[in-house]
């Protein structure tokens, strides 16, 4: 052991002692304090001391185009941008202590009518699962989520009925979106009223 113990002495003794803060914690601090969100997205911390659990509210607008990296969602929708305008969509974020090795767990807290969000709140966004990597951050996830409202993708759906409507009968789809956002029924499902009050 003596050999090992003598090693440190040779090093520059400039106090290299590191803080007790975990890597996940520092990384979340870094991600959160460096968030660069447009006015259409707001975070809310039910317990401000708990950085690992919070919600994100997205209030989509006409669809400002962002330069998106790492996101392979459709950009085909042309006349649909803005269809979710007027709604406020709330997502829960749960980050575990193995972040950023593990991606954040994100769910939609409301029942909404969207091709890429199912009725249980599961979200189909590649960087939340198969394409997650530690170099991505919370900002990339949030921007990705917002993109889903500007450019829903009917080709790889989670809510198949909504997707079918979107590709087959766009007017009906837009009607359904509007009805669902007011809290209406569509094909037997009661959606949550998500209109901004």
């Amino acid at each position: 052991m003596i050999k090992i113990w003598s090693m440190k002495k040779n090093e520059d003794a400039a106090a290299k002692k590191k803080p007790k803060t975990s890597a996940a914690q520092i990384r979340v601090q870094k991600d959160l304090t460096e968030l660069d969100l447009p006015p259409t997205m707001k975070t809310h911390f039910p317990d401000p001391a708990d950085l690992l659990n919070f919600t994100l509210t997205i209030t989509p607008d006409e669809g400002t185009r962002f330069l998106l990296l790492h996101i392979s969602q459709s950009n085909s929708a042309n006349n649909t941008s803005g269809m979710y305008k007027g709604g406020a969509f709330v997502f829960s974020f749960a980050i575990n202590t193995n972040y950023p090795h593990d991606p954040p767990k994100v769910k939609c807290t409301q029942t909404i009518y969207h091709p890429n969000v199912d009725l249980e709140g599961n979200v189909c966004l590649n960087i939340l699962r198969e394409d997650w990597k530690p170099v991505l951050n919370l900002n990339s996830v949030m921007v990705g989520l917002q993109y889903l409202f500007l450019e829903p993708n009917a080709d790889d759906p989670l809510n198949k009925e909504a997707a079918q409507e979107m590709s087959k009968n766009r007017d009906q789809f837009l009607n359904n979106v509007r009805a669902s956002m007011r809290g209406g029924h569509i094909k037997g499902t009661q959606y949550d009223n998500v209109l901004v009050r």
Partner: protein
């Protein structure tokens, strides 16, 4: 609980005949600090204290090897209990032990088999123990299958290092296996590359797009994930999926099989279902033996200085012949655990948080813009998001000394920093 073993026979003549050959004489690559003979034997057998994390596939092997090489004060932590699927490799366990604590059964077995060795088990989580506990050991060997536990142990040992106290440097020897592949590495906290430095070397866990699972299943795995990720929560509500419960696996299997049949997909089996939902990694005795032996050999060499130690990564692939690769993994400057900068800062007791931020921003050598500050337990000041900025804004006027104790640590993050900066705060008179 560990039972007191009967009075142990003292060492018998010839017991260490084999090991003493390398402790009595140096070899061509032995460091000059090696104290051949009684000094090193006394340290190994009477003074050293070693901690083993994990009493599973690697842990069983590690404990046996350490006991035979002459470590006599061994501690072992494991939170798991013994399962029947462990018995093909975890050789300290028998069918009658199924359901018991791995750490306790393993410790008792070793003490029974190798006289004079004390193994102290802890049936619980590594996170239950504090710094003082970890400080008592000279070496730590990890035989874990969890990334998270390894990250925690690594960070804890890096944090323990106190430049004023050489013995606070606890070498961490980490082993891991997967089928015929494995790796063993030596981490000298703060000196060599650490576990966190190499996090990007890990294989990515297979994950399938959720829309594929929901709509275009093609593989049996897609059907199984449909059952576990989507159907379980939908149908079984809040009941937590227990992957060790045969009823739960059986349910998933049936759901997955029905879906596979609906889509004419072949290959959903009970075994595959279990493999996918538990993320089962194949494991065999032989690979574990190789990696555990490599780890224990490093522990032995480090504890005795009897031979050069591994610098610092050994990788084994045993599928086509015996292929291994030994190399030095480089320390990362931007490693969130062992990299980055640490600064000693002496502040006036009256310095406010706002003034501290100004000091940081004005420091030419570190170039920080818009720093956010926290202690290990609370936020001091966050630049964003707005709610947290607002919540922490009142702290700007507070004295740092009211928020951070002398010697306390502050974590600083800022876009301009590669990762983070840590400050150790002391106060002038």
């Amino acid at each position: 609980m560990a039972t007191e073993t009967q009075s142990q026979p003292a060492d018998w003549p010839g017991r260490y005949f084999h090991i003493d050959q390398v402790l009595n004489t140096p070899g061509p690559r032995t460091d000059e600090s090696f104290l051949a003979g009684d000094g090193v034997k006394d340290f190994l057998r009477n003074k050293s204290k070693i901690l083993v994390i994990g009493a599973g596939g690697l842990g069983c092997e590690i404990l046996a090897n350490l006991a035979l090489t002459g470590f006599k004060d061994i501690h072992v932590i494991d939170m798991d209990t013994i399962d029947i699927s462990n018995l093909n490799r975890q050789f300290l366990f028998r069918p009658k032990d199924v359901g018991k604590s791995k750490a306790i059964v393993a410790a008792e077995f070793i003490m029974k088999r190798v006289p004079g060795v004390k193994v102290t088990p802890y049936f619980g989580k590594i996170q239950d123990k504090d710094d003082a506990y970890y400080m008592q050991f000279n070496l730590v060997i990890c035989g874990l299958d969890s990334v998270e536990a390894r990250r925690w142990m690594n960070a804890t040992l890096v944090n323990l290092v106190d430049p004023e106290e050489p013995e606070s440097l606890k070498p961490l020897i980490d082993g891991g296996t997967e089928g015929f592949k494995g790796q063993a590495r030596v981490i000298l906290p703060t000196i060599t590359s650490c576990y966190e430095c190499s996090l990007d070397m890990l294989n990515k866990q297979t994950a399938f797009p959720i829309c594929t699972i929901a709509n275009t299943p093609r593989l049996p795995e897609h059907c199984i994930e449909w059952a576990s990720v989507l159907e379980w929560p939908r149908v079984r509500g809040d009941l937590k999926l227990d992957t060790d419960d045969p009823e739960h696996i059986g349910w998933l299997y049936k759901i997955a099989l029905a879906r596979a049949n609906e889509f004419k997909i072949e290959g959903v089996t009970w075994s595959l279902t279990q493999g996918v939902v538990k993320n089962i990694i194949p494991a065999i005795a032989s690979t574990n033996a190789v990696i555990a032996a490599a780890c224990c050999n490093e522990a032995f060499k480090i504890a005795t200085s009897s031979a050069a130690y591994l610098n610092n990564y050994f990788m084994l692939i045993g599928t086509d012949g015996v292929y291994s690769y030994t190399f030095e993994h480089e320390k990362r400057d931007d490693c969130p655990v062992c990299g980055g900068e640490a600064l000693e800062m002496t502040l006036k007791p009256t310095t406010t948080v706002e003034e501290l931020i100004d000091i940081l921003v004005e420091k030419q050598d570190i170039q920080i813009k818009k720093p956010s500050l926290s202690t290990p337990t609370k936020q001091i000041y966050f630049q964003a998001p707005p709610q947290l900025e607002e919540a922490t804004r009142p702290n700007l006027e507070k004295k740092v000394s009211d928020l951070v104790p002398p010697g306390g640590e502050v974590t600083v993050t800022a876009t301009t920093l590669p990762f983070s900066l840590s400050l150790r705060i002391s106060y002038s008179e």
